[in-house]
Amino acid sequence: MTELLFSVLLFSGALCAGFIGALTGLGGGIIIVPLLTLGFGVPMKYALAASLISVIGTSSGAAAAYLKEGITNMKIGMFLQIATALGAVLGALIIVYMNVPVDIIGIIFGIVLIITAILTARKKSDHREPVVPGTLAHRLQLYGGLPVKGAMEPYGSRSPILGSLIMAIAGLLSGLLGVGGGVFKVLAMDNVMRLPFKVSTTTSNFMIGVTALASSIIYFAAGYVVPQIAAPILLGIIIGALIGAKTLMRINVVRLKQIFSMIVGIIALYMIYNGSTGKFSAKQENYESRTTER
């Protein structure tokens, strides 16, 4: 394959991934790793690195829009960021410096993808927790105000410790699998800390960029970020996500969402199948023998 063809194909693939990610709410990163590893035979660590870069691109773009609306809770995001960043660094260190079998990564990826799809599809409930002075959440200033019809409606939160624990897992998955882990972040803020839904989704987006930064630095420094792979992916996913977001605003996409969620489910099963039959390592062995020959 020539350089030109490779770039064009990666760009087109990332364009679709960004579009599907924005439409389904799963985020773009989740399809990049299967696309790169199974579709183009890119070695796992390089694929994870490119995926993390693309995650920073999409989350920063979306976070800019949300911040303008003023519903992102910077304090809650920053507090929880300690846990996610720690998890993310740990995850990236495990992948980069310990020889985790690639098939295992593939299987975990598939399982996490399925959980993500289910969590995204579930019915969401909106919470309004009272602000209770004296609680840990209150002392940590984990509260805020949501603009509702021109007035500020106050909201509080609960269980900052348990929330942080889930956040650490979200971070770990992000570093391990090259994804944003947004769905798990929302789970922590929405179901555990009981934040209003709008606040948890926007704050999660705000956090994803920093999480992906913490883990991608390790991949970057170790030399796994290759411009020929990461750049077309980044460019494609940004444009794809923009088109996806615009489409979401214009038309009712319930049907489309269902179809794409099904596609994501099939990709997940395909990942698990490939992992459990040793296809990833077969590719990797072939690749390792070829590179050592050179």
């Binding site: 394959m1 020539t2 350089e3 030109l4 490779f6 770039s7 183009f40 035979g41 890119v42 070695p43 390089y46 870069i53 920073i56 691109g57 920063s60 773009g61 800019a64 911040l67 303008k68 003023g70 992102t72 910077m74 920053m78 507090f79 300690i82 960043a85 720690l86 993310a88 660094v89 990236a92 260190l93 980069v96 200033q141 960029g209 920093v210 992906a212 930064l213 913490a214 991608s216 630095i217 390790i218 970057f220 420094a221 170790a222 030399g223 970020v225 411009p227 020929q228 792979i229 990461a230 750049a231 077309p232 980044l234 460019l235 940004i238 690749y287 070829r290 590179t291 050592t292 050179r294």
Partner: protein, 126 residues
């Protein structure tokens, strides 16, 4: 009221950093990629020939490449700008909390920066 206004300004400033950062990264890496394609578009690229143990990222090599307008390194610079975007956002928040005299959050933000710093150090040194 003035405090509310200040907070809003901080939010808008952070929003702008994110927007400009992403687009700067976008165009730098696009320019780099176009350069790579112009130079080596017809050469073969096989992801399977990527080294198992790649060379570590080096600031000196990157700097030299940028000075020579090497498209590969321009592209890498674009990706680095992208990485710097969320980092700048955290740094901005740090000064924002300091200005608000919110020392608890100044400290929390400092910890987050420290983790990112350690991550950078671990990646470069190991």
């Amino acid at each position: 009221m003035s405090q509310e206004l200040q907070k809003d300004k901080l939010g808008i400033a952070i929003g702008n950093i994110l927007r400009y950062g992403v687009w700067t990264a976008f165009f730098l890496s696009l320019a780099g990629l176009i350069g790579i394609i112009i130079q080596h578009g017809n050469a073969a690229f096989d992801p399977l020939t990527l080294p198992v143990q790649p060379e570590k990222f080096s600031v000196a090599v990157l700097w030299q490449g940028i000075l020579n307008f090497n498209p590969l390194h321009i592209c890498t610079l674009g990706l680095l700008v992208l990485l710097a975007t969320p980092l700048l956002r955290v740094v901005f928040a740090l000064f924002g909390y300091l200005a608000e005299r919110n020392y608890l959050y100044f400290f929390i933000t400092l910890i987050v920066l420290l983790i990112i710093g350690i991550s950078c150090w671990l990646g470069m040194s190991k």
